[in-house]
Symmetry: C2
Subunit: 234 residues, 2 copies
DNA sequence: GACATGGAGATTCCATACAAGTAAAACGAG
DNA sequence: CTCGTTTTACTTGTATGGAATCTCCATGTC
């Protein structure tokens, strides 16, 4: 008996489906940063009424993917350089803590998961599949949270995960030299954790995140590259 | 010329007002833990339609105050002992980090704010005003986040703040012996921070939060005390 | 030309009606 | 009485229309 497709899929609500669809569109770069996305146009595109779209936009606002300006409209988030700095500061803090928890609670499972993802990254890296590499990068860092056994820490990461993934896809994934360094650092992270060398882990993590930040900021500073929709933020 | 009331207050949306009202009702104990709160009944009480109530419940779900079970109804959160453990673990981690950031960025402002709140706590403590003491306790810990200069860390705290405040009001505020110890610990925290002794700060914080946890858990274990609405959780 | 005024268009916000799903009571067979 | 089925009440999920309000542009005044 095949193990998959046994779990029945409950009929999801339209609002949930629409939420996922919009999230994916933003993360994949289908919508550009700062773009206006009105309830009505989305409802038309998905051929549903405005109600579930409204619910979806409200939900996405909490993950920071969408900014709703009352009575004015909804917009894809459009991070400033300052925003990216805060995202990275927050991310560094949270990943450090989540990993510490995970190493305490389920060290083996974590290491195994990281190793598996790292192997996949190797192949994506070799084949130059930037999209896939970005997705695996996202999964790698998410693994800390999946094994940290505290649902709230996971929620705290959900708060920024989608934004980070978007930045990866839209701003930093295309940079080849970053991918090179990034790949090595992931290896170093695993190595440090294997040896229980948390000090080194923290150091590598910091370096790793700072590089991401630098690349994103640099990319943001060249206004007419990468389909970034520049417009006054308010 | 009086300095206040110059800033115009934008008319808030009904959804926002309703959200605040429900939040307050839960935090203050007006609704009991686990109580069912349907869209329709709330709409009736506030004399609005279901739309803004629906938006409000969705928003409150993100702060964990409300659990929405699809097609079944909405319920005030009802933490298990395990939930409280996770809340406290999360809280300890986040307060530690926020305070570290605040001490780096705006040490003086933080200390001043803490001192002011501590003085107020002294009077509330002396007068046996448990409600007020609980509110000041909430404000004291929130101060770390107001001065940490990272909006995301603040958001991460919003994720649990209301739940913690509710637990304080409903489960732990009434315990006199806890208030005694709690008061002293707040003083110790200020003292440690004044001396830049972060190791001691972390230790006191840990003790402080663990005591809160113990009291809440104890209270939760005596089922028929404190208006806790016991019912099967699913 | 600078600035105020007015109105058209676009968009959300809220109310309401209906559809669909869930839980629990009522019922009936054994 | 027990078990399984049907029915009923209740609650949320979705669609849709209209009110409110914001933006932007055109027009007019000085």
């Amino acid at each position: 008996m095949s193990s998959r497709s046994l779990k029945i899929q409950r009929p999801q609500s339209l609002a949930t489906l629409v939420t996922e669809r919009i999230r994916e569109a933003i993360v994949s770069g289908e919508f550009t940063l700062g773009e206006k996305i009105s309830e009505e146009s989305l409802a038309e595109t998905f051929d549903v009424s405005r109600s579930p779209v409204r619910d979806a936009l409200n939900a996405l606002q909490f993950t920071g993917l969408v900014e709703i300006r009352p009575k004015r409209g909804s917009f894809v988030f459009n991070p400033t350089i300052l925003d990216i700095g805060q995202l990275c500061e927050y991310r560094e803090m949270l990943e450090r803590e989540a990993c510490t928890l995970a190493m305490r609670g389920s060290r083996e499972a974590l290491l195994e998961a990281l190793k598996a993802l790292f192997d996949e990254m190797a192949s994506a890296h070799k084949n130059g599949d930037t999209r896939r590499y970005a997705a695996l990068d996202t999964a790698f860092h998410k693994a800390f949270f999946e094994h940290c056994s505290n649902a709230l820490v996971q929620d705290a990461y959900l708060l920024v995960e989608a934004r980070l993934a978007t930045i990866r896809t839209v701003l930093t994934a295309a940079k080849k030299e970053r991918r090179e360094a990034s790949y090595d650092e992931h290896g170093e992270i695993i190595d440090a954790l294997k040896k229980n060398d948390m000090a080194r882990f923290e150091k590598v993590l910091k370096t790793h995140i700072h590089r991401t930040q630098a690349v994103a900021v640099e990319r943001l500073s060249e206004p007419d590259s990468g389909g970034v929709y520049q417009k006054p933020d308010r």
